[in-house]
């Protein structure tokens, strides 16, 4: 290995190692399963290493790295050509019952997370990407817009729609009302 290459590797590791966990989770939330997440995260890290020279510091390194990860995932998802229902993204015609938030809260944390993951995986990738960056990785709207190369307004509206869609999935799939027995058992247990 040449000394130049060693220097590059060291520099990259210094910058990227603290973020490797977050890169992996970004890919996990985008892809919905560990196997695809690992492939995409590896590809993202390799791509970032190859393009290290093109990072000019215009954004935070983390934003730049997440952007690469999200784009690797989007490329992969596009190749699969899965069709997503846009019905979820319709704003009108749905209502949240008064008890819903409390019922949701009463579910086991593990279960809630599983349901949420499933719900996220149903979002169309164009909505999933900003939602993952903002709600899961904690990026500001501005950073997410920069990472995705989209206008700020677009990112805001997509995140909002994505959140609505997540709630709708939880309600529509009967996650909060379809398992009364189980929920009652849990309540009794508590």
């Amino acid at each position: 290995m040449s000394s130049d290459h060693q220097v590059r590797v060291l520099r990259f590791e210094q910058l990227a190692a603290p973020l490797e966990k977050q890169v992996y989770f970004t890919c996990l939330n985008m892809m919905g399963n560990h196997e695809d997440a690992e492939d995409c995260a590896q590809e993202a890290m390799l791509r970032a290493f190859r393009r290290l020279d093109s990072f000019r510091g215009a954004s935070k390194f983390s934003t730049w790295l997440y952007a690469i990860a999200v784009h690797v995932c989007l490329d992969e998802l596009r190749k699969r050509k899965t069709t997503y229902s846009l019905e979820l993204l319709r704003e009108s015609g749905w209502d949240v019952p008064d008890t819903a938030p409390e019922l949701y809260e009463q579910m086991e944390t593990k279960e809630r997370r599983r349901k949420l993951r499933d719900a996220i995986s149903l979002l169309p990738p164009e909505f999933r990407a900003p939602q993952v960056l903002v709600d899961l990785q904690g990026l500001s709207y501005q950073e997410a817009a920069q990472a995705l190369g989209l206008p700020l307004g677009t990112v805001k509206s997509r995140v909002s729609r994505a959140r609505q869609a997540l709630m709708k999935t939880l309600l529509d799939n009967g996650e909060l009302f379809g398992h009364e027995d189980r929920l009652n058992d849990e309540r009794r247990g508590n």
Partner: protein, 382 residues
């Protein structure tokens, strides 16, 4: 506060960054709006969604290993270098092919001046011995304008003076084929003949013709003058060999032999014994042989005297050497230069078209192979 106002405050609400009055308003809205309560809880859960997840070791080891192996230059630079190399290789390929196609064109083209045998060789040496093998009747000597002293001598004292004239000429030309034809026509029209003609194609496909011409002595000067006009004269050399003495000597010896023959024939009639007869016959045979030999010598000399030899070299010039061709004005030189450049350009275009047409099936096959390799490589990468 309504849902629309609440939603942008959601992040701050989670982080506890709201000012007191807004916080109170928000809390009031949350109490009355189950949708916003659920939304808040969902986003809160999203923030901690991966809290308990572990990052697989295989990912961390895997990407580090791949980076270590990435010994090559950064992707962008490699791509650039590869692109330039590909462009250079393509250029060399096309240019080489065009030149090869051009070479074939030159070699295959029937040269108007060259004999058909010279077709495929870059360097040919073909003899045209015997071309125009027709001895025209000796023309009227009085018609020919005589310029040199030797010529005048030959004309005035033709019966006694025996002069062999030889002319050596070297010409350069740009319009080789045309000038070659002009010389050939002029020689044949004046009753001469081409004894030998060799064509040689040298560097840069420039041709040189070496010709040995036999010209009636009376037409030599006129012919020399007109041939000189065909191209640009580089060198000229004329010689006249006086063979009168030698001719007279041979004539005398022939006469002696003829007289001897007459005497021997008279002796043959008088011979009485067989021995005498044999001796006389032998003498006659020897004498006849001598008479034939001397007569042949005289005829040879006559031929060389009546038909002068012209050794002519016609050299073709390249487009870049146009200024050496004749005396040209600047305008003519420019015009000729442009014409030469245009010819070269159109030749190259033609060659390129020929090469691309010929190479098309191979290029298509190559493209298919490259596509297949790239697809395989991409799949492996994944």
């Amino acid at each position: 506060m309504d849902c629309k106002r609440f939603e942008p405050l959601l992040e701050d609400c989670l982080g506890g960054a709201l000012i007191e009055s807004t916080r109170l308003e928000a809390e009031e809205h949350l109490r009355s709006c189950p949708a916003c309560r659920l939304r808040l809880k969902v986003v809160e859960d999203c923030r901690t969604l991966n809290e308990e997840d572990e990052v697989p070791v295989s990912f961390i080891e895997g990407y580090r290993e791949r980076i270590m192996k990435e010994e090559t230059l950064p992707e962008k630079k490699t791509t650039k270098l590869t692109r330039w190399l590909a462009v250079a290789a393509a250029f060399v390929f096309v240019a080489g092919g065009t030149i090869l196609a051009g070479r074939n064109r030159i070699n295959n083209a029937p040269d108007p001046a060259a004999p058909p045998e010279s077709g495929y060789a870059t360097e040919s040496d073909t003899s045209m011995r015997g071309a125009g093998e027709m001895y025209a009747s000796v023309p009227d000597m009085a018609d020919a304008p005589m310029s040199s002293a030797a010529g005048k001598q030959a004309s005035a004292e033709e019966q006694t003076e025996k002069i062999i004239r030889t002319v050596q000429l070297e010409l350069t030309t740009r319009s080789f084929s045309k000038d070659y034809d002009v010389i050939r026509e002029t020689v044949l029209a004046s009753g001469g003949r081409i004894q030998e003609a060799n064509l040689r194609i040298g560097y840069g496909d420039l041709r040189t013709a070496y010709m040995t011409l036999r010209v009636p002595v009376g037409k030599l000067d006129a012919l020399t003058a007109s041939v000189k006009d065909a191209g640009r004269l580089v060198s000229f050399n004329e010689s006249a060999e006086d063979v009168s003495e030698q001719y007279a000597d041979v004539t005398m010896r022939l006469q002696t032999q003829k007289t001897k023959m007459e005497r021997l024939q008279a002796l043959l009639l008088k011979a009485e014994s067989v021995e005498d007869l044999i001796a006389v016959e032998s003498g006659i045979s020897d004498t006849q042989y001598e008479i034939d030999r001397l007569t042949g010598q005289l005829l040879g000399m006559d031929s060389r005297v009546e038909y002068s030899t012209m050794n002519l070299t016609l050299r073709e010039l390249s487009a870049a050497q146009t200024s050496q061709d004749k005396e040209e004005t600047l305008l003519e030189r420019i015009r000729n230069g442009i014409a030469a450049a245009w010819k070269t350009f159109s030749d190259i275009l033609g060659d390129l078209a020929v090469f691309l047409t010929v190479a098309l099936p191979y290029l298509l096959a190559l493209a298919v192979i490259i596509l297949v390799i790239r697809t395989i490589m991409k799949r492996r990468k994944k």
